[in-house]
């Protein structure tokens, strides 16, 4: 998942980016409103964390412009202003949730996961589809209750596909959303990881969780369970 962090305070931004990267996200960062707006409009991102009190263009304006352009990815506001007037303004402008400074990183992590899940139409952090169960909070994948060992990148791929279960995800989208900017981009790597994931999740090729659509990409093919 690729996140965008727009925060003018250097220390806060860097620690936030570091924590989010450690949590497995690819993170873009911007230090002011102008740069932030450009990234928010042009970069393929899955969620934006925007500080309201930014120099240049305010966080509120960024949210309004992004929404006006039809971007639907979730937006989490960071605000030092604790008044409801500011929170309501932000939420009305198109943000999906807010976190008031100073915050614990765990709080940001939980809100980000919840928003990503919500954007994929999942109600809880446990994504259940057929025998496959993915616990986003514990970053754990189980098949029929059996835990499957995954590398960090394999987890990122299955999480991205499962959150968007049913949707066709192109190779380039996967590359964009999962690699860091400076990572070597090679679409063959995605094929290799998908192949490994299939072997780990479905060694006897019976449940077929990941479908390949020739020339279009991949799709997590299992039906979501009713309670999910």
């Amino acid at each position: 998942m690729r996140l965008l962090v727009i925060e003018d305070d250097l220390t806060l931004r860097e620690t936030l980016v570091q924590n989010l990267t450690e949590a497995g996200f690819a993170v873009e960062q911007a230090a002011d409103g102008k740069e932030g707006l450009y990234f928010a409009q042009e970069y393929p991102i899955d969620l934006a964390i925007i500080d309201l009190g930014l120099p240049g263009i305010s966080g509120l304006e960024i949210i309004q412009q992004v929404r006006a352009e039809g971007k639907t990815y979730p937006i989490l506001i960071l605000t030092a202003r604790d008044r409801w007037e500011d929170k309501v303004d932000g939420l009305s402008a198109g943000a999906d949730d807010y976190v008031v400074k100073p915050f614990h990183f765990e709080e940001i992590g939980a809100r980000v996961s919840a928003l990503l899940r919500r954007s994929g139409g999942w109600a809880s952090s446990q994504l259940d589809a057929g025998p496959v169960s993915l616990d986003m909070s514990r970053q754990e994948l189980k098949i029929d209750g059996e835990s499957i060992e995954l590398t960090s990148f394999e987890y990122k791929i299955i999480e991205y596909l499962m959150v968007r279960a049913g949707q066709v995800i192109s190779k380039s989208e996967l590359t964009d959303r999962l690699y860091d900017q400076d990572f070597e981009r090679d679409s063959n790597v995605i094929e290799v990881f998908i192949g490994r994931l299939r072997k780990k999740m479905d060694p006897d090729n019976s449940i077929k969780p990941i479908e390949t659509l020739r020339g279009r990409g991949y799709r997590f093919a299992l039906e979501r369970n009713q309670s999910a």
Partner: protein, 457 residues
């Protein structure tokens, strides 16, 4: 007596009363004196006529004929009386008109002098008398003193003066009333700009107007201009206050957030925990101070008109996003078109904190109801805001402690933290109060009552 018009009317009435009083007194005196002088002249003439008619009789005594030229001397009770006394004070002659009436002798003037006097008959009838003492020389060259006296009843004169006074009072009363009437009409016209200013200030207080108009007479333009400046500076002060608070919040809380983020990466858990506790305390103090009411009901001129229905809808839309997973059911009961006179931020703070707490604690239901607190349902009416949930509720003993939290920041109660204290502070700044009850839904019900602006002084 507080109205300028009544003060002016009372002052003018007193002035007219004094002026007309003095005028009436002067006219009355002049009329009475002129009347009396005319009567003296008449008496003088009658006395001369008596002197002319007096002749010594056969006994050598001075006498007057039975018929005199003035017929009133011959008519009983005619009001004009004549008398002649000798040197012993004995009445030598008395006119028929004075028959049966005792004319007082009165003061006798020196020979050769005449004397006017006010006397009275025995029955009390007031008289104006003229006495003349003469030394009458007879043909035998003897001479004896005599006193001629004429008197006229003042009854008719007094009646005439009375009638004159009556007419004087009547006419002056009519003139005074007419003048007062004209004056009050003029006053109405002159007071119109003042009433307009008063009306426009009322409209500003009611949120129907932002400043005074400029259509006032020259004498009031300065007042209107200064009033507008005052209102503008009050608004600017209020905006500046909020702007400063926003900046303060940003410049204090961002470093706190950075500190917390830095601590999260450190290995020393105990150190991190202790630092986080301090950060929490600083954060709570800053949060509480920064969320204090932006204004109070006393600043009527800078209050806004808050569209309650619209703001509540915005809040609930926002909260639905925040509590997306819990998805509480909102039951909203807000009177259509209801307005609240106050600061929009304060209103959102009141409703936002209560709704946020309710969403946090509810099982699945949150109910908000807002009704005007006064019966007139006017713009300046206050409101009763009630938010209830179906959560575990607040025990009675904890409720008091929660309300006192604004005064004791060092105590921390998770969940219903600063929010309720902020709500309590805002309610109090608008002259209202907060009550914690058990909701019919089963959980807590917080009721905020804000009185109408007009009742807050």
């Amino acid at each position: 007596m507080n109205s300028l018009s009544s003060r002016l009317l009372i002052s003018v009435s007193i002035l007219l009363l004094v002026f007309f009083g003095i005028t009436i007194a002067v006219l009355d005196t002049a009329f009475s004196e002129a009347g009396e002088q005319a009567r003296r002249d008449i008496l003088d003439g009658q006395l001369v006529a008596l002197l002319g008619a007096a002749e010594p009789d056969d006994q050598g005594e001075l006498a007057l004929p039975d018929r005199l030229r003035e017929p009133r001397f011959g008519q009983i009770g005619s009001g004009l009386y004549g008398e002649l006394r000798n040197q012993d004070g004995e009445t030598v002659w008395r006119s028929k008109s004075a028959l049966g009436l005792g004319i007082p002798e009165g003061v006798v003037p020196e020979v050769g002098n005449h004397l006017f006097a006010r006397e009275a008959l025995i029955d009390g009838t007031p008289l104006l008398t003229l006495s003349l003492a003469v030394q009458w020389e007879f043909d035998d060259e003897s001479s004896r003193p005599y006193v001629f006296k004429v008197a006229e009843s003042l009854d008719s004169f007094n009646a005439q003066v009375g009638r004159f006074r009556g007419q004087l009072f009547g006419w002056f009363a009519v003139i005074a009333l007419t003048m007062l009437l004209v004056f009050s009409f003029l006053l109405r016209g002159m007071m119109k700009p003042l009433r307009k200013i008063e009306q426009e200030i009322g409209e500003i207080e009611a949120g129907q107007r932002v400043s005074l108009s400029d259509k006032f007479p020259t004498e009031l333009t300065g007042v209107a201009r200064n009033m507008n400046l005052l209102i503008d500076s009050e608004r600017a002060r209020s905006d500046r206050y909020r702007f400063t608070l926003d900046n303060l919040a940003h410049s204090l809380k961002t470093p706190l957030a950075a500190m917390r983020a830095l601590l999260a990466g450190k290995g020393d858990q105990e150190f991190g925990q202790r630092c986080n506790e301090q950060i929490n305390r600083m954060d709570e103090i800053v949060r509480y101070q920064l969320r204090k009411p932006a204004t109070s009901a006393a600043d009527k001129l800078v209050l806004q008109t808050v569209q309650v229905e619209k703001e509540v809808a915005r809040l609930i839309e926002g909260l639905k996003k925040v509590y997306h997973e819990k998805a509480p059911q909102f039951d909203v009961s807000v009177e259509a078109g209801m307005q609240f006179r106050g600061d929009t931020g304060d209103f959102l703070e009141l409703a936002g904190n209560l709704l946020d707490n309710a969403c946090k604690w509810c099982e699945s239901k949150v109910r908000i109801s807002i009704v005007p607190s006064s019966t007139d349902h006017g713009i300046s009416s206050g409101m009763i805001l009630s938010v209830a949930d179906d959560g575990p509720g607040i025990p009675e003993d904890a409720a008091d402690a929660l309300l006192q939290r604004g005064m004791r920041l060092d105590e921390s109660t998770p969940g219903h933290g600063i929010g309720l204290a902020v709500v309590n502070d805002i309610a109090r700044s608008y002259g209202g109060y907060l009550a914690i009850k058990k909701a019919r839904l089963g959980g807590a019900e917080i009721v905020v009552s804000i009185p109408p602006i007009s009742s807050v002084r």
